[in-house]
Amino acid sequence: MSDRRNFLKGVVAASGAAVAATALPTPAEARETKQRPPEALGLLYDATLCVGCKACVAACKQANDNPAEFSTVDQLWDTPLDTSGKTFNLIKMYRSGTMETKDAEENGYAFMKTSCMHCADPSCVSACPVSAMTKDPKTGIVEYNADACIGCRYCVAACPFGIPKYQYDSPTGKIGKCELCRHRYKDGHYSACAEVCPTGATLYGKTSDLLAEAKRRLALKPGAMAVFPRGNISGGKDQSYENVVGNYQQHVYGEKEYGGTQVLKLSGVPFEKVGMPNLPPEAAAAHSESIQHMLYGGLVMPLAVLGAMTFVAKRNVHHDDDDQKGEN
């Protein structure tokens, strides 16, 4: 009886130690949340400037060769209700009560752009087992390569913004998401959504420039007149114009969320109400990779456990064989 009790203790202690040792990442070895590359490219979306014309939605479809998607019976024009494997950019609407005032939380309405945020430390890139989702080291653009993709949709599950989307209606479905129109750069173009935006609500440029511009706007007096750039803030011809300063929430969304994103947002309505989740400053990818590196870094831990197991098994399995010979 005491033999059995000792054995039980042994089982619990040994298994417990083995698994506990492998499951507790120490802060020293933790992988820090990555920051944006210095030359990171992105967008600044200012909901108070957006008039909801959806020119950016149409331009995105055209630039990415995507078909129209319908949500009405007559199917007359492109009416997607959310981003999808074939819709990479969408303007959604917030409505409250009488919808009298634009950008008011109560009895108001507002717009919000939905597209890839190009995270500094993207969950999708960390999740992808085959490097089909990668982050360009210079521009920081989160890129997708369908030829590498196995269609596991781990990126879809991992993204807190619900951005990578899969084409479920096809036997050879791909992931679809915004890649900041990187395929148009060689022709001197930039993100189609920013190119066509008539009010500068979607602005293209280096994230460092965009962040400075966002902070400039937050410092302006609501209701006053101010100059707003349009198109590309980091180059090209000056298309700036005068407009009324919005009543902003004092928060640049994307400055710190999940370690920061390259697409930044300003809004008059609290971000959570317009579909932008409340995220901590540490990226989930950092937590996940800390655990992975801790357990499998250099294969040290698995090889050590394998060595120990081989040693013990060698003794016990051999003994077992002898018994079987005795039986035969």
């Binding site: 492998t22 499951a23 999808s84 579909g275 992975q292 016990n316």
Partner: protein, 392 residues
Amino acid sequence: MAANHNAHHAPAPVGGNLFNATTFVCGVLIAIMIAILAVRFIFGLGAVTNLNDGYPWGIWVVVDVVIGSAFACGGFSVAMLVYIFNKGQYHPLIRPALLASLFGYTLAGVGVIFDLGRWWNFWHIFWPSYSNPNSVMFEVAVCISAYIVVMWLEFSPAFFERWGMVDAKKKLNKVLFFLVALGTVLPMMHQSSLGTLIVVMGVQINPLWQTKLIPLLFLLTAIVIGYGVVLFESCVAASAYRRKIELHLLEPLAKVMLGMLALFIVVRFGDLVVRGALGYAFKANLVALAFWVEMLCFLAPFALIGSAGARRNPAKLFVAGTAIMLGGIFMRLNAFLIGYDTGVGVDTGWRYFPSVPELMVTIGMFAVEVLGYIIITRRFPVLPREDVQVAH
């Protein structure tokens, strides 16, 4: 110890007819599954599943792979007991447990292909220029694939004995200790990583499951489920084949299981308290309810088979094994689906419940497992020889 070994009967085929009501039903279910899979591969995942961009993973991933492979941990749990903790008396349980594991894992591996949207690229995971070692799924895929190979090798003596391949068996026996060692390390790696899969989903996973200790929780439950499955399966095999139940083995095994289970409960609640996440268990919502269902399943075995007397009662062992399996099901469903809030507090309108064809494929995979188990135990030396047969 040696005397103990010699007292066991060597494994022998059960024999008997392969065509009966059970195998016929399995055959029909498998045919239905094949038809549904044909539609899936011709028209895409959307044609047969309810998968969507809010819930890109459904039961083909969570049940067939995550739960299926946990249920296949009997081989690993018993092998640890016999070879690592040198408890030779459990030896007769090894082959049947290994067989169930073999099927569970092989089918989990095959089942992944059904779910992969671009399955023809599957080999990229193993190809160095594509593979991403930072990805938890990379680790899971490589480890599970390696383990499937290791298990077939571990089980191959059953085939060698049947076909009289004495030399092959001898050669394999020389390296068996290494296969056994690999066969304990690989499941430790991927069963914990199956839990780590949810870490990168971050705040989308309810704090009741989103913890850095999730790999440890998944590993501990996988081991406990392994013993639970052995209890369940020993009772079912004994009743289906009208064989004696191996109570002298199951009673102490159940005790080992309770020990591991107690360790798990301590770690589980300790983690919730330390992280300050226990409050989520007392909210009035479906997720909190699902948490308590999971916990009750894991706590039930203490009430059912806490005493030595109760552990000699086959019915109670069977129910306790079933409770553990249900706990494992709920824990994995909760962590991946019920506790998964795709919009992070914002209702994005996405819902998921498996479609009938989706369910039929999962049921069909289970039928393959049952059919394979019947064929192999009837024709190959897996279960210990019964006295009646020796007399013949």
